[in-house]
Symmetry: C2
Subunit: 184 residues, 2 copies
């Protein structure tokens, strides 16, 4: 859908970084007037709902510099250039948690901040997990601690805001709905 399309008449590249780029586009609005749009370009990322054989959810705790606090989140990571998201999901799950998934199922995709960023998240459900010895290592600048919790425990961490990001809260809702339907 292109309703209310805003045509770009100028793009000013502000920043090219390791994770994101920033540009300011001058656009023509539907009424013919001009405005500017600040646009963060992101390569996209995966988020993985990983379930152990005991029905626990694998989560990672890491420091989130933009928030100046650490959060408990479902495993996630950004796409490498040209990488199929399902391969990113397998790689990030192993790097961050040490688990390899024998079964990985695509769930949905979603934009996280459509007002100012093009980041898209691909959600996967991973199960039949095997712990990998000497597997893929996390990036040098990533420090994460891995935990496994029940859905009820995760819901409690939402209340205390140790879980405080939308992809993880979406995953918790997804699992609650799945339980309600009796498929788990």
């Amino acid at each position: 859908m292109k309703k209310f399309e805003e045509k770009t008449i100028k793009t000013e590249q502000i920043f090219t970084g390791r994770m994101i780029d920033l540009s300011v586009d001058t656009v023509v609005l539907p009424d013919g007037t001009e405005s500017t749009r600040e646009i963060v370009k992101h390569p996209g990322a995966v988020a993985i709902i990983a379930l152990t054989d005991e029905g626990k959810i694998v989560v990672v705790e890491q420091y989130r510099k933009p928030l100046e606090k650490s959060l408990l989140e479902i495993p996630a990571g950004k796409l490498e250039l040209g990488e199929d998201p399902v391969e990113t999901a397998k790689r990030e799950l192993e790097e961050e948690t040490g688990y390899r998934a024998n079964r990985i199922t695509y769930l949905t995709s979603s934009y996280t901040s459509p007002g100012f960023a093009n980041e898209i998240l691909y959600f996967y459900l991973a199960d039949q997990l095997t712990a990998v010895e000497n597997g893929l290592q996390a990036d040098d600048d990533e420090f994460v601690e891995v935990f496994e919790y029940t859905l009820e425990e995760l819901a409690g961490f939402e209340k205390s805001q140790r879980i405080h990001d939308l992809k993880t809260s979406y995953a918790i809702q997804y699992l609650k709905l799945r339980n309600d339907k009796g498929t788990f």
Copy 2:
């Protein structure tokens, strides 16, 4: 929680915009090495699950320049400086949809992209809606069309990706769970 805290030793301000700012922080990692973090600062925003007396959900369609497509989303908007989020929620609902809510209930808050941005979303449930004649007007550069759909219709738009953002998919799951509990 400050686990794996990354201390800032330098902040380079890259950009100060209308909606977002960008800085690159040089940080010391837990192992003593240095790295950089690209950080988008955002004022925070509200998202409103607005229900009509008929049980339909009020959604708005708008062009999202970062995605180069229009999306159907729940009403949302960013906080003005010093504004209480509940006041933002009332203002944005009226500006974007022409509805005033007689009852507005805070649900939760959540970070949308904790890897690179500090944007936080405050979710509200709004009902007992009244259409306002000559009410608050949207910003000059906002073009939105208002729709009211059932929950089932919204779930269909998720499949066709006319709905394709995480706050709206979170809202859909929230309403499904609420229905399952029989409170609606």
